[in-house]
């Protein structure tokens, strides 16, 4: 149903540069101990657009291979694997985006994300201010169902459900396009287990492949596991918040109990811990990104990275603020802000840095299958 050849077969400059560099790397191979990118490269002799897309999405952008590279600039081969793969990677996200008509949101992505979030925020706060009487909006509401005094549960839960339906469709379509364009094949359940393990442990970001787990080089070329730890905080914090929402839904429909729940009840505990982890994780990732070796930072992509990191931070922080102020007269405003950010977040998901998770997992799954087939 998709004409893959139209979507992604463009031999773009980023593809050509990736192919050029991979041919040099494949004749050197000194970096093969670092991560999954290099063994995957060694399984290929030629680098077509699907191959460069797969390698680019396997890369965790740690920078180790740049620091180790005997052919890095000023050498005339001018090999810069992390930068080149980052640029190719960002390009593939736009190429595989669904609906394709919106793929332009990936260029100047920082601006796109900020504008969409601002619009969602303004809409949420504006509509609630317009539709709810000031006495209610600025009033103090406590006890079960306090939130739904301001906004019916149907609306509060219905909007994200609609958005999520769109988001999930976009992800499925993106995944299909990626899978076809890269010629990936299902590698069986053991390969799936490999990919899940690689995702859960982030073993490719931090030197586990070297067996010493010493980490990746930072800007001063000192090994560090900081990025992995902050990413773990972000990833598992996100999962806890997801679990919080899910348990909240179960409370609502199975137990017939309405939010807000007590501070020590499961949905709130999960959400609080998750939210704090997200705040710490995203702030840490922002710091690490700023500290990253300048030579490997793709300037065109920084806006996307920063916008997503800060969006996640503020979604989480606004949830924590709501928790703190929910029994005061500011509950209405903080609820409006939090909901605006959350709705905007889900809306913008398929056109944000979030998709790195989708395509990284697809690449890891394809790679695990490839590795298992070649080992036989």
């Amino acid at each position: 149903m998709d004409d893959v050849s139209l979507i992604d077969m463009a031999r773009t400059p980023a593809h050509e540069e990736t192919a050029r560099i991979m041919q040099i790397c494949n004749a050197c191979r000194y970096c093969e101990g670092f991560c999954a990118v290099f063994p995957a490269m060694e399984r290929r002799r030629l680098f077509d657009v699907g191959d460069t897309a797969q390698l680019a999405n396997l890369c965790h952008h740690c920078g180790a291979c740049y620091h180790a590279c005997q052919y890095a600039p000023p050498h005339e081969f001018a090999v810069n694997v992390p930068l080149t793969l980052a640029e190719r990677r960002a390009e593939t996200w736009a190429q595989y985006a669904w609906p394709g008509a919106l793929s332009g949101l990936f260029s100047q992505n920082g601006l796109s994300v900020v504008m969409i979030i601002t619009a969602a925020l303004a809409l949420a706060v504006g509509l609630m201010l317009a539709m709810i009487s000031p006495q209610l909006f600025w009033g103090v509401h406590v006890g079960e169902g306090a939130f739904y005094v301001l906004m019916p549960h149907m609306v509060m839960a219905g909007i994200p459900m609609a958005i999520t339906a769109f988001t999930i469709t976009a992800f499925v379509m993106g995944w299909r396009r990626y899978w076809r364009a890269t010629g990936a094949r299902w590698g069986g359940w053991p390969a799936l287990a490999d990919a899940i393990t690689a995702t859960a442990t982030m073993r490719n970001l931090g030197g586990d492949n070297a067996g010493d787990g010493a980490g990746c080089p930072g800007p001063d070329d000192r090994n560090s596991l900081a990025r992995r730890h902050y990413h773990h905080a972000t990833f598992y914090g996100f999962m806890l918040c997801f679990a919080s929402t899910s348990t909240g839904t179960l409370y609502h429909y199975l137990l017939g109990r309405e939010a807000p729940y007590g501070y020590f009840e499961l949905p709130v505990v999960l959400g609080t811990v998750g939210g704090i982890m997200l705040c710490v994780g995203t702030a840490g990732l922002w710091r690490e990104k700023r500290r990253m070796e300048p030579a490997v930072r793709p300037l065109s992509k920084l806006g996307m990275d920063y916008a997503f990191i800060w969006l996640l931070f503020w979604v989480s922080a606004s949830g924590l603020v709501l928790l703190a102020l929910r029994e005061t007269g500011l509950m209405g405003l903080t609820l409006a802000i939090h909901l605006g950010l959350v709705y905007g977040f889900f809306l913008v998901l398929p056109f944000s840095k979030f998709v790195h998770g989708l395509y990284r997992f697809a690449a890891l799954l394809a790679d695990a299958g490839e590795a298992r087939r070649s080992a036989v």
């Binding site: 041919q23 040099i24 494949n26 004749a27 050197c28 191979r29 000194y30 970096c31 093969e32 101990g33 670092f34 060694e42 002799r45 180790a64 291979c65 620091h67 180790a68 590279c69 005997q70 052919y71 890095a72 600039p73 000023p74 050498h75 005339e76 081969f77 030197g207 070297a210 067996g211 010493d212 010493a214 080089p217 070329d221 000192r222």
Partner: protein, 467 residues
């Protein structure tokens, strides 16, 4: 700038090390750990620091039992036999034994100073038993050792070329830099590499042919320090024309092409010279055992050029090359693209094909599939070059490092012409590797010699300071 006391540096350093490669950093770290003030001068800019170490990948280490980075065992006896075989006995047996014995400590010593190794049983080359591979290669090793050295207070200066060793009757006062300033030191350890990037000097051993060599190694190994030492009566070791040279892609850069410029396809096709004649048995042995002689073979041909010719089956039998092979649907067309005479090339290929045996070749063993009646015959993996498209690689001698250097004793002290050791001048690495490696080559032994003698030089320099 390095001589004064105004910038907080000592007027006279305890130890001055020339070269920030593997040997120099091992020496600097050892001396600094013993409490010495240490300065390291490297001719290259920071990004290109460390001489040929940047292009290395592993070291060869003796071990009696499997380790975390080496499989099985590699005994002293086996290592020594390997060395005797490749050098044909042209080695200082005492220094060779010392190198091999001390090699056992290296992975542990380097690992404790931040160098990371690939785990055993991984990697492209089947050298996991004899050689320990640096994670990320030689530049990653340099990064780790430089960081460690700086942590110990070692001062590293880049873009700082030493022009002259200040030597007086076997005693070294320090060095004069290219900008004419002087750095004074109580002990000087030179690890300044060979002279492979000095084509004029190479021409003294190789004649005009040297002008057609490509230099795989660092362009900063110009041999200035070695020349300064030899001019002042230091005892030389090794022959002027002995070097590590392999056949590399003629399209590689003139300097600094490193590992990626190598061509592994020779055993799976034929190699012609400028006149479209074969000149050596392409299938004599497995490539890892033969690649190091092909630099000399090509260097001996007219114009120092060769052409590897393969068909579409042969071209898939080896690791991909950094430059895309030249390709054509016909032998004549390929010859034309390579600059060979089409008719003569056709004839050479036809002659070869007619002399090939029946049946498929097996590249995993010395399969004995030999041509009959050719001069020279190809003694293994002889398969007709018959399935188009055809592929060609132009070849040049690529020189990696030179063997002529300074003679040292087991304390890494440089020997003067009368055989007496200098009081305070030491050497390690490529500049003295010829003591152990008189000719031939054993993968990874250069780094072993550098690390072993670097450590010895650093320790002996510190010990003799009498502080």
């Amino acid at each position: 700038m390095y001589t004064g006391t105004d910038n907080g540096f000592p007027k006279r350093w305890d130890v001055l090390v020339i070269g920030a490669g593997n040997a120099g950093l091992c020496a600097a770290i050892t001396a600094a750990e013993a409490g010495c003030s240490v300065i390291v001068l490297d001719a290259a800019p920071r990004d290109m620091r460390g001489g040929n170490t940047r292009h290395t990948r592993n070291l060869r280490a003796m071990h009696e039992a499997p380790t975390d980075v080496l499989t099985d065992a590699y005994s002293f006896e086996e290592y020594f036999e390997d060395l005797m075989r490749v050098t044909r006995g042209i080695t200082n047996r005492d220094l060779a034994s010392l190198t091999l014995e001390k090699s056992a400590e290296l992975t542990g010593w380097l690992g404790a100073r931040g160098v990371r190794f690939q785990p055993a049983l991984s990697g492209t080359l089947n050298l996991g038993r004899t050689n320990a591979f640096f994670l990320g290669g030689g530049r990653a090793l340099l990064n780790s050792l430089c960081r460690h050295a700086e942590g110990l207070g070692v001062v590293l200066h880049y873009d700082t070329e030493v022009a002259e060793i200040l030597l007086d009757d076997g005693f070294c006062d320090g060095v004069r830099l290219a900008d004419d300033s002087v750095v004074l030191a109580k002990k000087v350890i030179t690890t300044a590499g060979g002279f492979e990037a000095n084509l004029d000097w190479l021409a003294e051993g190789w004649g005009e042919a040297a002008k057609n060599f490509l230099v795989r190694g660092t362009p900063w190994n110009t041999g200035t320090v070695l020349k300064s030492l030899l001019d002042q009566g230091v005892k030389p070791v090794g022959a002027l024309d002995q070097c590590h040279a392999v056949a590399i892609d003629a399209r590689a850069p003139k300097y600094d092409g490193g590992i990626a410029s190598r061509i592994d396809g020779v055993p799976f096709g034929i190699v012609l010279n400028r006149d479209a004649e074969r000149f050596y048995d392409e299938g004599e042995d497995f490539w890892p055992k033969r690649y190091a002689i092909w630099g000399r073979l090509v260097a001996a041909q007219p114009d120092q050029v060769g052409y590897a010719i393969l068909d579409s089956i042969g071209v898939t039998r080896f690791m991909p090359s950094v430059f895309t092979p030249i390709r054509d649907d016909s032998i004549e067309g390929l010859a034309g693209q390579l600059g060979l005479d089409p008719a003569a090339t056709r004839q050479a290929v036809d002659l070869f094909n007619a002399a090939c045996p029946e049946g498929p070749i097996d590249q995993s063993v010395l399969d004995g599939k030999a041509t009959t009646g050719l001069v020279p015959d190809k003694t293994n993996w002889a398969a007709p070059i018959a399935v188009p498209p055809f592929y060609g690689f132009p070849l040049r001698p690529g020189i990696t490092f030179t063997y002529m250097g300074v003679e040292v004793n087991d304390s890494a002290q440089i020997l003067m012409a009368d055989g007496k050791p200098s009081a305070n001048l030491f050497a390690a690495g490529e500049i003295m590797a010829g003591n152990v490696l008189g000719q031939g080559y054993l993968a990874g032994i250069g780094m072993t010699i550098g690390a072993v003698f670097g450590r010895i030089a650093g320790a002996e320099a510190a010990r003799r300071l009498n502080r």
